[in-house]
Symmetry: C2
Subunit: 755 residues, 2 copies
């Protein structure tokens, strides 16, 4: 049921929001003739998408517990296989055997005179039948925590990020030998036990504060969508920013006979026990804390004075896991390309969840299956893709992007040769289009976004997201990043998000250097409140996630077009002006960051010399001065400036030549497409990033200290942030080198076009 | 007991924080000879200050309920009179008869199936004997609310400021015919019922949210200093930003036989009933609300989902007051000047509280009395002030700065001729020096601040506050206003706060144009949590306000020096470079503000044309677009630019000439001092500010929409903020005129010095 409420409000004036007008026929990479055929194929594709079928599929697939190793996760693999086959795909299941720990014993309690024991399970909720299937649910658990039996005082460390430990040190509290209690938010989950153990903690409890994730946001489930007091966010704490995938088979596929390292030799597994809890239980633990009152930014919405600790009463934490190998079932479906079978367009979503996984990941997975179904119908009409299309349903994403990574590592050589683009999705919900993607796909994504109608407003999803970005940034207190995105939107372009991590594109883009796209709708969906809990059910999703499943259809239309156009375009549909411009902007950011750090360092050191922090401190609430850092040296950005100038010229030349190009000979086209398919790879360096050689990409990576959040130009940026100035200089050079290699590729492509 | 902990840490390097070195002998306005005598007098003065006596005096004066009209408020007046007399002052009590409403009947209840009645009184607290004296306490009350008996649905309006009503309108909720519930904070109390009634509300409940004022900040009393659930903030809601003082005698003294207007003819009294409550009760009222979930910035720290409303259950609110006149007792103590008896230095603090009033106002009042005592001792040694010193203990500050205003209005003619400076204090506590003051007193205040030792660190209070301002602003996320103050501090100057309102300086500086100073120590004291409640007791203050009463002594040393130097300096100790520089900076701010508003208006209108706000809205949570405003026209700031240039030259010339001047003849000195005493008056315009002719000052005023918070260049700034462009232009001219009149005064003073 698609609303046309706003179509009437809108009239023609909405066109003012977008620089280019929307049209149904693709242009990038197509000739006029092939474009017309493509438009017709897409119309047929659209006609075969059904919200009702997505809904029925979600209901079925989310009907039982779906974590790795569960019977229903395997049943879903077999169902998916059977469906793909029925739709005309050449499908099979590929099995990997990977380390996947599950809890054997768990205990979390307050000792002493007023003992309290945490629940660690989630009771059923009225009106949600699925939530009553508690028998096979995984209890509170963090995969790849460290196991142990520890008893120690508790310390509250806010979000548990580096700045929080700096503040803690200034308050004179340390976590050595303590158990930390940390709230979700502020950075990726896995950094919380990692930074805790690096600071000497012996255990870690992660809880959802109602200010961030509970009644603060909205009424709690089942009255509303938010996390109830007993709701628990499970998750992985594998050190994915260092390397993704099975920790026992680093850098290669976890096939049956692969050589495995010993578990104790993996640096990716935490050393201390950790458990997640809900805020209903957390309140009891936080109430044991004494010591300094928590600073303003550390306070949540529990009805209490947040204190830092330590507690006088010790807390007892026990986790013991089954560390055996478990099978993963990746379902792979192939439709062979008619003209270019060795150029692959890969499209995937994961299938495993933490519990039932309706929103995460089955909302995305069921929309993807709808695409595969509609492409199957299309193929029965006689249409054939130019390139080979590969659909994949990954297992084992939740514990560490394992199903995708093991497949990518197993087929690395073939993928490096054949993969043109990897298109991912994961969760989905009603709201606005979001695309995190390789910069070279901006033109393609914008073209597609202009051709898909938003179900709630009737305008294109592009027009709507441009409106939303600008409306949000129109508030007088909008943040600088919001304003920056709104400025791009005001110029008529959907701004791309940078590729960090948190879903299956990571092995493809950051390890193998394959051009990648990650698509999601959201921003209105109230799904965060059941994230990774037993309440992420079909019932919840049906009410709050995507009522009517219209954004399931929008997702299929959007990604279906990205897949079809990538598969059918005569010339691979990438443009590079956005790459050069974005990287140029990032170099400017790094210069500004270095300047700000220099100024702050000098100012802080001047104040340290003058004992200003000692004088400012309240003797009743003692605080130590901040640390002293060496002055920030001059950094030579000239190599990056030069490389950006070079890349800008090469990108402009290619984009102009591509726009002007006529029909190409098949041989020339094959050569050109091979070049275009390898441009992203030229942005990688096989030596990798500092301390994490598996991450090859020098333009985007998950941050070592953000986890999911991207760091752009990561080699340089993280060195600057960490004040490792020699390393920053080295990576200025390396990053300039990959930009020049990229320019070389583009120059070769331009020369080919003009020859 | 003064700590020397940090003196040792500090060594000599702290000198790096201050541009000028501290010394005990004053320089501004003194000759070397008179400076030496002054230093000696101050040393004697210091010797006679006693923390123990301040403590004993506070214990006595705060031992019973002290609101206007209470027996103990009168007893304290008589005690003060007797003390002043005993210390050698020529003292008397001046009585005014003013409108001061007190509650006769109060009721606040939730009706319907689950009724609840608010408590409206504060129960005693263990360990605080004073808090047990509940018999004579004023219950929950807001003086000058509008009386009434109303039953209506409830709507939550956050802080109840203009931006909150704009957000409410966009959420599609209005308050017409409703009772609003509003939290303390975000702007002055009195604006809350005023804006509520302007938007059509029929009643107003103000509560203290624990996030701002309760367990959020610290453990609650008696465990810690914060407001307990039953703690109530009383206060006045008289429309003081329009006019201060007795509403029945506008602009003239409320003497016995003064002609009084009818109560219903006063525009300063609210029209709707209003009551304050604690958060323990507020939670019940907030829980009745349905409708949209409150936006992020509207949520406090109660354990619930904050919703906007309206409630389905009506709320019943009754307030009935005794509107009879009550007597005010101002105590006035005079020490006649030996050389210039018609030049007055006035020093005051109010004496009335809402309940016991230990922190507000008796902490300041008892320190002021200690000064008067020490000056009395000094006078017995043969020292005589050059000018006349007037000490005043005001009554009736809490309901509306009434005791000070009526005295100032009664003696307006004499004060306009004779007053050189008015020096105020109010609350006090441990921490850092704060001075809100006329810009011409910056040099004097800085000199004094360099000569008073901070009890907690042993450095000067100037060195300490410069350190604190810079240390606070060294955080990477410090706000622009913090950074601006730190920049002034880094230059070696204690930045002055702008004079808004909230204490008794308002009638002197903003109505009469008398140079004024308001001094307080604080920032470490945890007194906010009992503000205007029955827990603002001696017991609380002794534990949390100023343990050891060392900042009572610091206050007396600081203000005592300001009084003595102002009274003894041969030449009135003002400098004007800071005035010209500060006003110049403010003109720059106004230009930037106008530019930002222009850009935002154009951008919002462009997005309105494109229906961007409609498109961005979640159909499930409808929000209306923001209002459309006319484009911001060009404003001609040239008259202000010219006036600032002129004033800068005149100020520099005077400051240079004053620094270079030798001994002056008595006649010349008298003329010069008369000129200097009238410079502040040249910054006023007798036509007053738009809509509030009582406010004459064109450089600083309380904001019509901030209440206590100052607006600088208020005629221009508030016109710009309100988009009244013709008015802005008019006040650019008027403000430029007063700056030129000020420059004329300074030129005359310079000519006199050089003649």
């Amino acid at each position: 049921m698609q609303s046309i409420r706003l179509r009437m409000i809108l009239g023609v004036s909405a066109a003012a929001l977008i620089a280019s007008s929307a049209g149904a026929a693709p242009t990038i990479g197509f000739t006029p003739k092939s474009a017309a055929a493509e438009a017709q194929a897409e119309a047929t594709f659209d006609k075969n998408l059904s919200a009702d079928e997505i809904r029925a599929r979600l209901k079925l697939m989310a009907s039982e517990v779906n974590n790795v190793g569960s019977p229903h996760d395997k049943a879903n693999a077999e169902y998916t296989l059977q469906q793909f086959k029925a739709w005309g795909w050449d499908a099979h299941i590929e099995v990997f055997n990977v380390l996947y720990p599950t809890p054997k014993k768990e205990l979390l309690e307050i000792t002493g005179a007023e003992p309290f024991q945490a629940t660690l399970t989630e009771k059923p909720v009225a009106g949600d039948e699925t939530s009553a299937k508690t028998a096979t649910e995984l209890p509170a658990y963090l995969a790849f925590q460290g196991d142990g039996d520890v008893t120690a005082p508790l310390v509250y460390v806010n979000y548990g990020m580096p700045a929080d430990y700096e503040a803690l040190a200034r308050m004179g509290v340390d976590v050595k030998g303590k158990i930390v209690i940390v709230r979700y938010g502020g950075g990726w989950r896995g950094l919380k036990p990692k930074l805790a153990q690096e600071h000497g903690a012996v255990g870690c409890i992660i809880y959802s504060d109602p200010a961030d994730d509970g009644y603060g946001d909205a009424p709690t489930y089942p009255e509303g969508p938010s996390r109830p007091p007993q709701g628990i966010q499970r998750g992985s704490v594998l050190d994915m920013p260092i390397e993704a995938g099975d920790p026992l088979t680093p850098g290669y596929g976890a096939t049956k006979d692969a050589k495995r390292i010993r578990r104790e030799d993996s640096a990716l597994i935490m050393k201390i026990p950790a458990l997640p809890i809900g805020y209903g239980d957390a309140q009891h633990f936080l109430a044991t804390l004494t010591g300094p009152v928590a600073p303003k930014g550390w306070r949540g919405q529990l009805p209490m004075t947040y204190r830092v600790g330590p507690s006088t009463t010790p807390v007892h934490l026990v986790v013991e896991s089954d560390w055996s190998l478990k099978p993963l079932y990746d379902v792979i479906a192939v439709m062979r390309g008619a003209q270019a079978p060795d150029e692959w367009v890969i499209r995937a979503n994961h299938r495993d969840g933490w519990v039932f996984g309706a929103f995460d990941p089955l909302a995305g997975n069921t929309a993807m299956m709808e695409e595969a179904k509609a492409i199957g119908v299309l193929a029965k009409t006689g249409w054939k893709p130019r390139r080979t299309i590969v659909y994949a349903s990954w297992d084992g994403e939740e514990p560490g992007l394992i199903g995708s990574t093991e497949w990518a590592e197993t087929h690395a050589d073939e993928l490096s040769k054949k993969a043109v683009v990897y298109i991912n999705s994961d969760t989905n919900g009603h709201g606005f289009l979001n695309a995190d993607a390789s910069y070279s796909t901006s033109a393609l994504i914008n073209e597609v976004a202009g051709d898909v109608r938003d179900p709630e407003t009737g305008v294109s999803v592009k027009t709507r997201v441009l409106a939303a970005l600008q409306a949000e940034a129109a508030a007088p207190d909008a943040s600088p990043p919001l304003r920056a995105r709104a400025k791009i939107a005001a110029g008529g372009l959907v701004p791309l998000g940078d590729m960090g991590s948190g879903s299956d594109y990571t092995p493809f883009v950051q390890h193998l250097g394959i051009t990648s796209i990650d698509i999601a709708y959201g921003g209105e969906a109230d799904q965060g409140g059941v994230y990774h809990s037993a309440y992420d059910t079909f019932e919840h999703y049906d009410r709050f996630g995507d009522p009517g499943f219209v954004y399931g259809v929008a997702m299929a239309q959007t990604v279906g077009r990205l897949v079809l156009r990538s598969a059918d375009a005569e010339v691979v549909p990438f443009r590079f002006g956005n790459l050069a411009g974005t990287v140029g902007g990032e170099v400017g950011e790094l210069k500004a960051l270095t300047g700000r750090m220099r100024e702050q360092t000098d100012n802080t050191n001047r104040l340290l010399d003058a004992k200003a922090f000692d004088l400012a401190a309240d003797p009743g609430k003692p605080t130590a001065p901040p640390p002293r850092y060496a002055a920030v040296p001059a950094l030579d950005f000239a190599p990056l400036d030069g490389a950006v100038t070079r890349l800008t010229a090469s990108a402009t030349a290619y984009d102009d030549a591509a726009a002007a190009a006529g029909d190409l000979s098949p041989a020339k086209r094959a050569k050109l497409n091979a070049l275009l398919g390898s441009v992203e790879h030229s942005l990688t360096d096989q030596r990798g990033l500092p301390g994490r050689p598996w991450y090859h990409h020098l333009i985007y990576a998950p941050g070592v200290l953000t986890g999911y959040g991207a760091k752009t130009l990561p080699g340089v940026r993280e060195a600057i942030e960490g004040r490792r100035w020699a390393e920053a200089g080295e990576f200025i050079g390396r990053t300039a080198d990959v930009l020049k290699a990229c320019a070389d590729k583009l120059d070769a492509a331009t020369a080919l076009l003009k020859s």
